[in-house]
């Protein structure tokens, strides 16, 4: 490992002198920092894409955005999904589905299933905290969901962890600030 910067004497730097480390770096160290940053970004992407392959779901981790499944799931809770093709959809399961004309997927429970001999399936959903089933949420005239509408089935649950996402969605400025600070930290802080 090249540690060119470590040779010099320690100049008294204040804690907020964020460019201090950067000034001490040579070219090689700088490339290393940038590559390191690229590594972090690409590993995160790889993990996400890998999870998509392993779980069969186009979005293996989702954040609960509404209170329609309370008291089981609250806003900001995290759900882990799988969507294996051979897994049948059955009543009582919690599915995440997309409805035409709505961008945000919905997390609700299956309350009715009709499956034909050839495997064609239609089902109806309802939120635990809602009084009525979801027919009012579906596209106009649509009475049933089908397998193609399903993004995933809920398999695991972690409370509160998705709160960061919710805050970032509600306050976009916070999101940019966070990304900027983290990016700056990784790029400017010298690897020891």
């Amino acid at each position: 490992m090249v540690r060119a910067g470590a040779v010099g004497t320690h100049l008294p730097t204040s804690s907020l002198d964020i460019f201090g480390d950067l000034r001490k770096m040579n070219k090689r160290q700088l490339y290393y920092q940038v590559l390191n940053f690229a590594m972090i970004v690409s590993s995160a992407l790889m993990i996400w894409k890998g999870l998509i392959v392993l779980t069969g779901s186009e979005s293996p981790i989702v954040v609960v955005l509404s209170g329609s499944m309370e008291p089981a799931f609250h806003r900001g809770d995290l759900l882990f999904l799988t969507n294996f093709r051979e897994d049948p959809i059955r009543a009582g399961e919690i599915v995440v589905f997309k409805v035409e004309g709505r961008d945000i997927p919905i997390v609700h429970r299956v309350i009715k299933v009709h499956e034909k001999d050839n495997g064609d399936i239609k089902f109806l959903t309802k939120g635990d905290n809602n009084e009525v089933d979801d027919r009012g949420l579906y596209k106009e005239g649509q009475n049933w969901l089908e397998k193609k509408d399903v993004v995933g089935r809920a398999r695991g649950f972690l409370p509160y962890v998705g709160m960061v996402t919710i805050i970032m969605n509600d306050y976009p400025k916070f999101k940019y600030a966070l990304v900027a600070v983290m990016g700056a930290y990784v790029l400017l802080k010298r690897e020891s």
């Binding site: 008291p71 089981a72 309350i111 299933v113 034909k116 009475n143 809920a154």
Partner: protein
């Protein structure tokens, strides 16, 4: 270097790791537990009608009315990583047109701290028992089961079916009366 920022950073990181480890321990200690429990179901009343359902213009379907008793002791299902049980009574059957039909008739949210011993008499179904056509008339293979989903504080979301099941023999003729 012992700057304020680095101290705060390492404190935060340490807190996060400790919490992650504790949560993982919580998940692992309860993930492989058997959450089943014996259930006793009894059907006290069966009624069959043919009425317009909500799915299409003037489309009539079979509508069943079932009244039932439920008794179950779910005390053992609760432990330190159970926030809630979502109980649901479902009817499962097959018809000529559909190989598998499942209709949830009734459900109940049982929170931690509530009485886990159920003893309910003459419960009416909460949701309409509409068939997808006319498959309920004379159908002898309708089975009721009580199942539950364990909602943990953190962890997996298993679906468990109670051991007791009861079959519902539907009559061969429709009830004419229009009262529900």
């Amino acid at each position: 270097m012992n700057t304020l920022l680095s101290r705060a950073n390492s404190l935060f990181a340490f807190t996060l790791s400790v919490m992650a480890a504790l949560t993982l321990g919580c998940i692992l200690t309860t993930a492989f537990k058997d959450r089943s429990a014996p259930v006793r179901l009894h059907v006290s009343r069966i009624l069959l009608k043919k009425v317009e359902d909500f799915t299409g213009p003037r489309k009539k379907s079979d509508l069943g009315f079932i009244t039932f008793h439920i008794s179950a002791d779910l005390e053992k299902t609760f432990d330190w990583n159970v926030k809630q049980l979502f109980l649901y009574l479902s009817a499962e059957y097959s018809t000529k047109s559909n190989a598998v039909n499942q209709v949830v008739l009734w459900d109940k949210i049982l929170l931690r701290g509530e009485n886990p011993k159920l003893n309910l008499k003459d419960v009416k179904s909460k949701y309409f028992f509409f068939d997808d056509g006319h498959g309920l008339k004379g159908n002898r293979n309708v089975t009721l089961t009580l199942s539950w989903q364990v909602i943990p504080i953190a962890g997996i979301l298993p679906l468990v079916t109670g051991s007791g099941r009861v079959s519902v023999p539907f009559p061969d003729s429709y009830e004419i009366a229009t009262t529900f």
